[in-house]
Amino acid sequence: MFLVVLYTAVLPGLAAGLAALAARAWLGVEGSVRCGALAVLLAFVTGFLLSFGSPMPIDASYQWVFWGGGGGATAALLLPRKIGASKPGGAGVPALAALLTAPFLYGMLLALVPRYLGRGELVLIGLSLGFAAAMTAWAAGDSARRLSAARLAPAWTVWAGLAAGVLMAGGSARMAQVAGFLAAAIGALMVLSWWQPTFAWLRRAAPPLVLILVLAAANLYWYGDDARAPALLLLLAPPLLHWLWARSRWAGRLPAAAEALLLTAASAAPLTWALLNATAGGGEDDLYSY
């Protein structure tokens, strides 16, 4: 258990924090928008390699989560700085999320063709979830642009942390660990945001965060046994609620702690519902603690 916590939370969180600080020092305020992407990338790769080993040729579906997440975070890191900086959300962020989600989902689910899925269905799944990921990443990116990192980071940490719980309850401890890497990364950014509350720690973390959660949920849903779709779809609800708040007239007008608490509640409410949904219906013979 100690090793699981070390590999899932402590070391990925440390990697994320150090990466964000390094990026902050090298890129300065102008380049700060990239800190979040670098933090997620380092936490994700560190956690994945420590927990699941390497090298990892693509011979099992879960490894697409690694390549998709790593690719998404790298692309978010390398996107031109102006994308997403001036206009609400920017077109680049959702386009990136959609462009990456669809092909990686296609690759991940290809082993199910033709036994469980037709190729046409697979294309439509990629397009549908790619679109859902794009809209969620856009909403998350726009919230991060409108709200300070100090107010939003606790909500995102709870979002990723409870997502880990939902994935665990859904039947995949491995995908729960993946969400744990994200919670560790955002948790590290949360601590940094308390140090510099107005710095753009979170902005570019949105696309890889959404992409990885979508890939992890898809892996559990299509390769798991009896995972519940409503619980997994609710993983995308928190950023939409944050975005609705960020667009409201009250955004930024509450005291920082109160607004952070409200946003955190907006993460916790749908995911608590998701947790209940994921665990509903289990009989006594289902009791199983790994």
């Binding site: 099992a60 082993a111 199910l112 899925l117 397009l127 549908s128 859902a132 039947g171 289902d286 199983y288």
Partner: protein, 209 residues
């Protein structure tokens, strides 16, 4: 002009509905199929009702966990004149795993372990049969599991043979071998579950069926 919030919400709902519509549907249920190599020797088809495939693995360094695969089939070709020409072919339905706990079975079927939708079958095809002492054979073959194929050698013993209640000629065998599950990419929880898995089979075959 549609407000941006309404437009975004509608589009997301459309995407989510698409994902729900295309939920996984089993087009063909997994079945264990027998494949018989061409031979003039006696061919026995595995009788699933009188055969078992069990495995055991260490749990957390504390205890031992047992499980079985309920559905499997295959053939045993016995050449009494030259036992080295005998062969075995077994196909196991990975989805039929049963560890006496529904929650654990769901976990084992998923991506953390066997990923049965991705790798629905476990197969063993013998490549060499070497007779040993006291009726024990060393049967070497290729075990394919979780998309990985490795050579394993099983210790096989013939339990007996004779007529069944319906007059069919039957032969019974027991086999035992061990594998390192990490070699087959079944590598989750390397600290929590033993790496070595011992597999034991008790098989009854029916001649010419």
């Amino acid at each position: 002009m549609i407000p941006a919030t309404k437009l975004a919400s509608s589009l997301l709902l459309a995407g989510a509905a698409g994902a729900l519509y295309f939920a996984p549907k089993a087009i063909t249920p997994a079945t264990a199929e027998a494949t018989a190599p061409a031979t003039t020797a006696a061919t026995y088809a595995i009788d699933n009702a009188h055969s078992w495939t069990h495995f055991r693995v260490n749990h957390m360094g504390i205890g031992t966990a047992f499980g079985q695969f309920r559905k499997f089939g295959g053939t045993i070709v016995m050449d009494e004149a030259d036992l080295t020409k005998s062969s075995v072919s077994i196909t196991i339905d990975a989805d039929s795993i049963d560890t006496n706990n529904a929650g654990r079975d769901r976990h084992l079927k998923g991506g953390d372990f066997f990923s049965v939708k991705e790798f629905p079958e476990i197969t063993f095809t013998s490549t060499a049969v070497k007779p040993g002492k006291k009726g024990v054979f060393a049967v070497t073959g290729l075990l394919k599991m979780h998309g990985t194929e490795k050579e394993v050698t099983a210790e096989v013993r013939q339990v007996g043979s004779g007529k069944g209640p319906r007059g069919q000629q039957r032969a019974g065998f027991e086999a035992r071998f061990s594998v390192n599950r990490l070699d087959f990419g079944v590598d989750y929880m390397p600290q929590g579950l033993g790496k070595e898995v011992t597999v034991e089979l008790a098989i009854e075959g029916v001649l010419g069926s």
